[in-house]
Amino acid sequence: MTVDTKLTYTNEYIEQFSQDRNEPEWMKTLRLEALEQVEHLDMPEPDKTKIVRWNFTRFHHDFVSGENISSLDHLPEEIKDFFDQDNLPENLLIQRNHSIAHAALSKELKEKGVIFTDIFTAMNEHSELVEKYYMKDGVAVDEHRLTALHAALMNGGIFVYVPKNVQIEEPLQAVFWQEKPGLAYFNHVIVVAEQNSSLNYVENYISNSEEETVANIVTEVFANDNAKISFGAVDNFAENTTVYTNRRGIAKRDATINWAIGQMNDGNTIFENITELVGDNSLSHANTVTVGRGKLIQNITAKTIHWGKNSEGYILQHGVMKDSASNVFNGIGKIENGASGSNAEQTSRVLMLSEKARGDANPILLIEEDDVMAGHAASVGKVDPMQMYYLMSRGITRKEAERLIIHGFLEPVVAELPLESVKKQLKQVIERKIN
């Protein structure tokens, strides 16, 4: 069976799209060059998951604006749960469909030079800065067909920039709401933390589209020397959305990038989370949790690439699969020649709640250097009957015992999310999905 991966986008369409967004010349060029490459590049080949039958071509790409949300007191029902009404974040962007419906950034951060805005505005106001980071040292346009397609068709996203020496305590939250059915999400997020700066950033993808469509998301996160980024995310795409998400981190000298990702999509998903530990003493914790249900097929790769000396990369992946959902975890630690004193650890675990669920956990170490530490652990299994027995022997019902064990299994990652409201919301999503 052949699958139609041909797209009908022309140079004229792309040029017009770029012009309508008022994009700088470099962006238009980047798009056109990417479009040319789309046809010649292969699709990605995620290890152990066949994606040939997945829909990557049927979607509505047009830029669609969403209605403004003037007051957070009247949040639309669909996204209400994603906020703690009593504790709304001061720094918040809500992207509704492709446009920004709500934007707030504290005066203090503005004055310090923090940029927290949609990608199109950023390109207008800080063209050089965006150009410096956009698909250059992070994700390359020509990694495969989907990255090229992303570059050609990017239709939303945000730009976060924290200047040198600025340390931000309060989290920055971005909410991406795919409201219109069938809408394609080619979102691009860039987070830059300059030298000695720090920030907590957390994003939510929300969709309830019953129409089939595609999300193709690229996120590039740069922690410059001695910067610290804590990146949280909860992805929540609906069943008929095919999702490709690429989150890439580049950590320079003494920099830290910590990821806490809740992968809660109901549609088939490829998620890759690569962190390049470029600088000496750089550090990354890459934590992912996922709950799969229905007929979900999912491939999740976390990879740390160690270039810098004494760099440390810790991967933790925990997944719960029910119904006939199937999940592959790849946890890859790669230590390059010269990265002496580095430590790479990977832990991948899948808990299966039904006979038909599938799980695969592949921790992989690729080591080109002698003087390193490395370790890995993997498991695929069912809920431990001894744990069930223990909890039930204290009066807790079978259902509640299983619930406690599942939440506990996912807790190490949930606990790392930088915003209480997002944590709570992720727990709710987990609760809904396991019930």
């Binding site: 431990d384 022997s393 204290r394 009066g395 807790i396 939440h407 506990g408 807790e411 190490p412």
Partner: protein, 261 residues
């Protein structure tokens, strides 16, 4: 009515097809403290596991009743809610679930829907028991039994017993791995429970626990049966003379259940 009665009759239990218990008879009445002693491998943990409903232990014959209710018909959680408690020899570790969340869930489960304990009241009660058992308050926020020392696990079992206030508590080797100070603290907690509404079945193969807890009835288990029953004086004699005299008296060579002959 004064307390509950647990009645075990001709209990036979198999594990993986091997018969371990070969006809145990035992009745525990409200307010009574029973002790089962016996060397390793004689079936003591098997008895406690069968009473609680451990999934690997199959009752092939006999009966267990709590106040006339058929315990063997109950799920594990129903047994707990009916008033049975087992302090396990090897409690499970449960990652990601804090001890405090677990305690509250189990207290509420035992108390039943509509009768949940208010959060502040729970914290107060828990803190009080933590103090009494000289347990570091941090333990409440640690994941259940994860990384606990042997002694911490034992205290945690007793903490659960104190909070859940069962009618009948089976304590399987609660004394093993405890130093003398801890042994005293744990014994105090058990003695504090003494009332006509509480009875216990203490399983041990050391006599030293009985320096702190006064049993009413002492049983000896060998070869998967209760082979002798007496008062505190029986424990004393075992302490002084060991098990040899008893084996001789009963004509037993190998007291363990052993591989199926």
């Amino acid at each position: 009515m004064a307390g509950s009665t647990l009645e075990i009759k001709d209990l036979h239990v198999s594990v993986e097809g091997n018969e371990i218990l070969k006809g145990v008879n035992l009745t525990i009445k409200g307010g009574e403290f029973h002790v089962i002693m016996g060397p390793n491998g004689t079936g003591k943990s098997t008895l406690s596991s069968a009473i609680m409903g451990h999934p690997s232990y199959e009752v092939t014959k006999g009966s267990i009743h709590l106040d006339g209710e058929d315990v063997l018909e109950m799920e594990v959680d129903e047994r707990a809610r009916a008033g049975l408690f087992l302090a396990m020899q090897y409690p499970s570790e449960i990652s990601g679930v804090t001890t405090s969340d677990f305690l509250r869930s189990s207290m509420n489960a035992v108390r039943g829907e509509g009768n949940e304990i208010p959060l502040m009241k729970f914290i107060k009660q828990m803190d009080k028991k933590l103090d009494a058992l000289e347990i570091d308050k941090n333990m409440a926020q640690r994941y259940l039994n994860e990384g606990f020392s042997g002694g911490e696990k034992k205290r945690n079992e007793i903490l659960q017993m104190s909070l859940l206030e069962p009618k009948i508590a089976i304590l399987d080797e609660i004394d093993s791995g405890l130093d003398i100070d801890a042994l005293k603290i744990v014994s105090d907690a058990i003695n504090d429970m003494r009332s006509e509404n509480f009875s216990t079945l203490i399983i041990t193969h050391y006599q030293r626990l009985l320096n702190y807890i006064k049993p009413d009835v002492v049983h000896v288990m060998m070869q998967g049966r209760i082979v002798k029953t007496g008062g505190p004086e029986l424990a004393k004699r075992l302490e002084e003379e060991g098990y040899e005299w008893l084996k001789e008296e009963l004509g037993i060579q190998d007291e363990t259940v052993g591989e199926q002959a």
